[in-house]
Amino acid sequence: MYRRSRWLVAGVLALTLGMTGCTGGDDGAATPGAGGLPGPGGGGGYPRNETLYTSGTQWGPPNSWNPIIPGYAMGTVGLAYETLFLFDPQKTELTPWLAEKGEWADKTYTLTLREGITWSDGKPLTADDVKYTAELGKIKAVPYSNLWTWLSAVDVVDPRTVRFTFSDPRIQEWENWLYENAIVPKHIWESRSEADITTTANEKPVGTGPYEYLTHDQDRMVWKKKADWWATKALNLDVKPTYIVDIVNSSNEVALGLLLQGNMDLSNNFLPGIANLVKGNFNIKTYYPDAPYMLSANTAMLIPNTTKAPLNDVAFRRALASSIDTKKIVEGVYGNIVRAANPTGLLPVWDQFVDQSVVTQHGFGFDTGKAKKTLADAGYRDTNGDGFVEGKNGKAVKLSLIVPAGWTDWMEAARVITAGAQAAGINVVAEFPDAGALDDARTAGTFDLVINNWAGLSNTPWHYYNYVFQLPIQEQQFNANFARYESKPAWELVQKLARTPQDDPVFKTTMAELEQIHLSELPMIPLWYNGLWAQYNTAHWTNWPSSAGDAPKDLPTTWNNLWEMGSIKMLTQLKPVA
């Protein structure tokens, strides 16, 4: 019997290997330029000194190149499709990209396109494409459909000029739209039905950007440099890597392994303990050579559910805020790769708008004694002697703080927060539900305390306050005001902010008013700034963005929707080693 089984085993083995090879081959053959044809460097490979290996953006197989619906493959917007403007986080202003300029005149905005831009199929980019892209927002399933609640018309003046007429000119929101949304070619998209536009995978993306789709597989996305990109002539910018291979992660550990082996050049993964590797001799660098190592990308906030007692009491929230040892989170949990947040929670790029007098007067800091005193003054006492205060109705207070299971850094941070709160006499316990259950609780408002960081880097602090104060409160809160805190005056100020240009002095005073409401009411408690995780291996590419004097200052990331914040320029600055 076992003699026969040996042949069986050998046969099956040969068969399976053949099958895998076969499938791989088929995939390649279906892709123009790959597969059967020998690629440059022979054997279908990418020359190492022309190829940039990246990771940290894609967590699943690339499956969509549709710039209209989120979830597209890394680089779909940024490398293939481009936006009208870029946002420069250094200068905190928009810089023209596909557009040459844009000007406000009362309720109209006139946009002029740059000359000589073509799609990758050779057709020119025209004002019709811009009008078409904006009008896609009339489809309800397009994420920017709310644009049409305050935009009334888009007119093509000439092939390079578009005029937008607004019913309600929300300047800040409009600037946000201008740099966040990619322009799509009308001549290709107009043949698609409404349902197609939001469900197509758009397998052969035709864009204006510096790269073209080359191939993809379950675990990678490969872009190839286009022969002529408009910015080479117009702005003297030239992207250096011929190929960009973005690796799909299954875990941060795998990314760390690849980075250490030198098989990855840029990892935008959260790699705990990276500080030790930067100090060691591993060719690994980060933006800052010392703490905090990373730029700040967003603010992690502790969000109390303000519809539940005692979290609906500002004194209780204030006591909770002063019970948290943020320094311990920054140093102990993160090993100094993040920074403690300013009490206002505004990212460091908005420092110019932070009103120090408001912070001194209403800010909070770690002080267990003060937290205890605040509780006592507000009438919270430990009546049953269990070490924790009871509610004003005499009932025991037991709050749960939820963070997603598996987010190890946040889980540790949650433990620090609960330890601090318990020391001050507030009974908070950390719980780690599945990410889906947590989303449900946060959206439906059934949680007590939750950590969230969706107040990210953007062109305007309006975004941040919209996140904190957005009204009206819905049954389900998808992306803002999870605390369900209702303040009409604050919301009016946020709307005023949306309509005010940033260089107007009113912008600064409105910001100060919002800061004051935020800090005196504490509907959300800012804790620390999460990093723009980026670690580079300098073995094959150098001249990475860094804080060093003459180094490039672009954002070192491949995360989707940060290409529009100038990461694309990082590619033009890189230098191959060999």
Partner: protein, 330 residues
């Protein structure tokens, strides 16, 4: 014979229906709502846009009809080969996503199951009659079979991948290559395949070796073995009889172990970032992707049932008693 297979097929059909039904029910009991996750991801900023987008996606995923109808639709679509649209990888069809991953999973599973079974039995049988081998192979096998797949995988990736640098630690083939019919590409496939295969192989191997060793010792002490020995039959002949008898429980064991091995493969794939079903299933669970989860489990159910059926046939072929029993019954 016909009645035997008829009965077996009926049982398999019933198992299939129950498994597919459970497959449909269980994801729907998970906390969370797939459409909600979808909306969260698209970060709808306009409160008024939420309701229309919600109904739009519910329609796309077929979640806007009563549950019983969803269940019926599920069966109808299943027979049309339509597994639905993935929520997590929207707008990719589930069948496409799974078909791209299945070859990798099969390439890991089939060789590791069959080779470990074959090698394990062989080494186990040898160990039963060679003391030095028994003293070395047995403790090693015990250690191996008690090792969690994931832990062994991490150990191998760290030692042979990162420290020694011999093997890659991620991907299905080198990130520098594009698929083509060349030895370079094939070599790269094998190189990436080897470590995940090895970790699956080693754990299963330990189990089979121990089982076989114990069975052989048991068989060698059985009455028929003693009788043969008393008759003066050569030791070699007795061992062959013992091996054949000991093989039968091992075949049954193979059928029972299949599920465990599949689960092990899924974990191993995650450790090595191997582009098979494992990572898909993990992400599908985390993203409430009912449809992808159903599709992946459907593949596993069909695979395990199919393999069991093959083992049933093999059993008839290798054990004359089954055949005699069936002839007596008909």
């Amino acid at each position: 014979m016909r009645r035997y297979f008829g009965r077996k097929l009926a049982i398999y059909a019933l198992t299939f229906v129950v498994a597919v039904t459970l497959n449909w029910i269980i994801p729907r009991f998970m906390p969370g709502d797939p459409v909600l996750r979808m909306l969260t991801r698209t970060s709808v900023s306009n409160p008024e846009a939420i309701a229309p987008m919600r109904s739009y996606y519910e329609n796309v995923f077929g979640l806007d009809v009563p549950l019983w109808k969803q269940y019926l639709n599920y069966w109808v679509e299943l027979f049309q080969g339509n597994l639905g649209v993935s929520v997590w990888l929207f707008p990719a069809p589930v069948a496409d996503v799974i078909l791209r991953a299945v070859p990798y999973t099969l390439a890991l599973l089939l060789p590791s199951i069959l080779l470990s079974w074959w090698a394990g039995n062989k080494v186990g049988a040898l160990a039963a009659r060679r003391r030095w081998l028994d003293n070395t192979a047995l403790p090693v096998s015990y250690a191996l079979t008690a090792t969690p797949y994931m832990w062994l995988g991490i150990l191998l990736a760290w030692s042979l991948g990162i420290v020694a640098g011999i093997f890659p630690v991620a991907g299905g083939y080198s990130f520098e290559l594009r698929p083509d019919w060349s030895w370079v590409f094939f070599g790269s496939l094998v190189q990436h395949w080897f470590l995940p295969f090895l970790s699956l192989f080693l754990v299963a191997f330990g189990g089979w070796a121990i089982g076989m060793r114990n069975l052989i010792i048991y068989e060698l002490e059985a009455d028929y073995a003693n009788y043969l020995a008393a008759l003066g039959a050569p030791r070699r002949l007795i061992r062959r009889y013992a091996f054949r008898n000991a093989l039968l429980p091992q075949i049954t064991g193979l059928a029972l172990q299949l599920g465990v091995l599949v689960a092990g493969a899924l974990v191993t794939e995650i450790v090595f970032a191997y582009p098979g079903l494992g990572h898909l299933i993990l992400q599908a669970i985390q993203n409430q992707d009912f449809f992808l989860l159903q599709g992946a489990f459907l593949f596993i159910v069909i695979g395990v049932l199919g393999a069991n059926f093959v083992i049933d046939i093999v059993y008839v072929l290798v054990d004359p008693r089954t055949r005699t029993g069936m002839q007596g019954a008909t």
